[in-house]
Symmetry: C2
């Protein structure tokens, strides 16, 4: 009998987790490449695990893909948390999160493509990064920083902008990602009720160094 929901992870548990992580990472690579119809055998070969191992961890390819997307989103969410701690102005938190997310499309293309190829499913209000954005917007509204009639609908536009910005940067490699992200963020801040001048100023503030942190992928 090994680790029973609360005990410390055994060597056995670590091996199991490694196998699972290998499958998740392989799945992320395939999703990023747009190849979601690859046979199971191909996935297991890419993950360097046996064919039979697949069904030890996932009952179908779809479950694996769900897990892969969830993993990427969780990792990015944790990263944003790290990079926005200590900020007191909710508008600043929102702007910084959005600007960083925009930059991540270039910095971590694998993650970016996973999100983009997952389609709009990740834009649901209770999935992906939306809860975080929702929390930030609500906080800013409550603090009197944002003036928007319906925060839930504003979130809709914000989520859409985040996704389509990624797609845009992917389609236009010549565009500067930081500049584009900052401009979209500024537009969104104006939409959320900030005066134009202040929106512009917030998007010019320096950002924390992304290189100071580990890779934002938890399936390592």
């Amino acid at each position: 009998m090994t680790e029973q929901s609360g005990g410390k992870p055994n060597r056995l548990d670590r091996r199991k987790a490694r196998t699972r992580a290998a499958l998740v990472r392989a799945a992320q690579a395939f999703i990023a490449a747009g190849k979601t119809n690859v046979p199971v055998l191909e996935i297991t070969q890419a993950a360097d695990v046996g064919m039979g191992s697949f069904y030890n961890h996932f009952e179908s390819k779809e479950r694996l893909y769900e897990a892969a997307v969830a993993d990427a989103l969780d990792a990015h969410g944790a990263l944003l948390d790290e990079l926005t701690t200590g900020l007191d102005d909710p508008a600043h938190v929102f702007a910084q999160s959005f600007r960083l997310t925009g930059r991540l499309h270039r910095r971590n293309p694998e993650f970016s493509k996973v999100i983009l190829n997952s389609g709009l499913a990740v834009a649901g209000a209770d999935k992906g990064l939306a809860p975080r954005a929702h929390r930030d917007i609500e906080a800013a509204v409550h603090a009197g920083r944002f003036t928007v009639r319906d925060p839930e609908l504003a979130l809709v536009t914000v989520a859409g902008a985040a996704l389509c910005l990624g797609q845009f940067l992917h389609d236009h490699p010549e565009r500067d990602d930081a500049e584009a992200a900052d401009q979209v963020t500024e537009d969104l801040l104006r939409m959320l009720g900030l005066p134009a001048a202040e929106a512009h100023e917030i998007c010019q503030r320096p950002l924390p160094d992304l290189d100071a942190l580990g890779r934002p992928n938890s399936a390592a």
Copy 2:
């Protein structure tokens, strides 16, 4: 030898077009249902055509799906053209187009789901409805109605909002589609530089009657 690129359609050509349209319609239904992995045989059965007919028109399932999405987008674009003719204020054209598109998610769920399940591929600047929106935004900027630094990036947010609004309405059947669409449009107008009061007013204007037109699906 039948119709040779410019001649009038024969009876043979019409039959061919009917078969093709049946396949496209069946594909749209499957896309709307989220079932893109159905075997070819199932598609041809749903279209009520022979199995072999499929490869007379499309060399693969992917091509069929591409054609199905393009058809739905073209149909919606033509509908918007019809419904915005005669408007002189570019901001009004933009607002009306967006409000109508929002309403269409409920009015024509089939079309809506085709768009949503197509993912972000339809959000590219030169695909789908984006060229139309781009044209409207540029016109409004040129007319001094919108003041936005980078119209191309504004389009990114607009496209994202349109897509995510559809997803939102799909996830929240209890929300009034007209109200939500108007609110998002108003938010976008503010982002595009319109004063809040004017943005609100434009989104309260009456809309043309959608029932006065035929079904917005060209694959009939």
